[in-house]
Amino acid sequence: MRRRPNYLAGVGVTLWLFVVGLPLYVMLGAGVQSRPDYNAGGPLGFPDHFTLDNYVDSFSNGFGRYFVNTLIVTASVVAIVVLLVPPLAFTIVRNRGRTTSGVFRLFLLGLAIPAQAVIVPMFYVISEAGLYDNLIGVILPTAAFCMPVCVLILTGTMRDITNDLFEAMAIDGADTRRVFFQLVVPLSKSGLSTVVVFAALQAWNGFLFPLVLTQSEESKVITLGLYNFQTQHGVEIPGLLAAVVLSTVPVLLVYLFARRALVQGLMGVGGK
């Protein structure tokens, strides 16, 4: 490639590293300091007296419960998406009827619907269904709003399966179910893991549906817990930032161990 190092890019990137890194440094640093230490040293001060008290406090302040609730929501959303989307994508790719292309267009249209647009009717529907302030009431719309991107990702993967393989299965006399479980699912693993990560991220980081569809402490998820903590104890910055870190730990772990699937899952947000 080009030999001359790109100094201009180097300067720009260093600046950007500063912009990205500084808030993250404050976030990690503040969380491990006591409040007096933090107030004395300022946000940029180095944590001299390391403590995990803020994290322990977070758990006793209800974050343990929020954590479990968020896990339940995330696992359920992933389960719904994994059960419903693969057969749908399989149909879209292999059944070329007019109805199917209409179905596909419906889901593509869904890509353009922001969750913000439906919170009022969603509140109405969920209340009428008696699911207000119930985790199920959060799970169902969250899963539905994940689906368009998941369909897009998975149909992309399934289109890459060559027709020869389907013909070979057909010659073997395999029925639709066998084709699905023994050919399509195994060969769609990469797309499936992307879908799982995308759905999990949407559910874990989801804020709007829990905000308008739940109320009580028992059904609070972690993002809502953060918001409440912020409005009630906004000046307890070390405790607040410890809770922020806590809410992010699972995502960071996935980032460390399944970076590829995560990055592709996030690209899913871009509908690409």
């Binding site: 890194g21 399989f90 869904g110 913000q116 647009a117 009717p121 109405y124 539905a144 639709t176 871009g270």
Partner: protein, 317 residues
Amino acid sequence: MVSLTAPVAKDGHRPARTSGPAGPAARRRTGRPGIGWALPAVVFFALFAVVPLVLVAVLSFTTWSGLGSPEFAGFDNWVTLFHDPVMIKSLWLSVLLTVLGVVVQTPLSILLGVWAAGPQRNRAVLSAVFFVPLLLSATAVSVLWRALLDPNFGVPSQAAWLFGDGNLLGSRTGAISVLVLVSAWQFTPLHALIYQGATRAIPAVLYQAAEIDGAGRVRQFFHITLPQLRNSIITSVILMVVGGLTTFDTVLILTQGGPGTDTTISAYYMYQKAFKGFEFGAGAAIALLLVLVATAVSLVVVRVSGYDRMAGTKEGM
């Protein structure tokens, strides 16, 4: 007779859905799923995404306080909305924030994406760090920045020479700048990722040819990279527009629409009307307006750019 001609699967599975006698034509049809396979997903999606979207239109013509049943009110909500100065202001604010978002994030993310597309190892490592803001929820990002910008305990208290009294969120300009900055901080990595992928897909031949012609790095960027990124720029801008018009979490947590109503953008005003003022009909009308505006803008971007008439980036090569 029927039992003899019907195909029987050897392994005991349900026979494939074939209508005619077993032959090449019939064989091609086996393994093709019927529409029934899609049905559960379609029903689920219809119930929890399509029905609410239809209902938003219906509810916008009703008054509903959250209790009891919605009552038909004709165009009342719409008339009130278009005479509501806060509503008009919120629409302009949404547009302003969206435009500022596009203007700030597009050059940043193109530069970062093109940079990250390079094969160097250090670029891969740094890109991994740059990616972290995208992993945080919008809630976490807003809470983090609110703490960072706290006038008494945050960064402004440390650098009075730069921030003055430190109350960045107390002025209109300050609050709008913070919202634009925080969105850029969080979403630049996403758009950079789009550009990174697209840059890697540019054929290397183009650069080799340019090098032979003696084009430098800057000319290569403006004459090869940028034109080749055209489709990605459109995709990315559409995403920014839809995302910008529906910004909500950051406003709720960072500014609560203030000072006054200076950052009350439409999505936040909708939430206020519906869930704080219990005027759900008015909230639904704002929501519908937002969907229409976002869709219209996306269509305009696609039409003006000629995206819908292009076969691919390689057209004209």
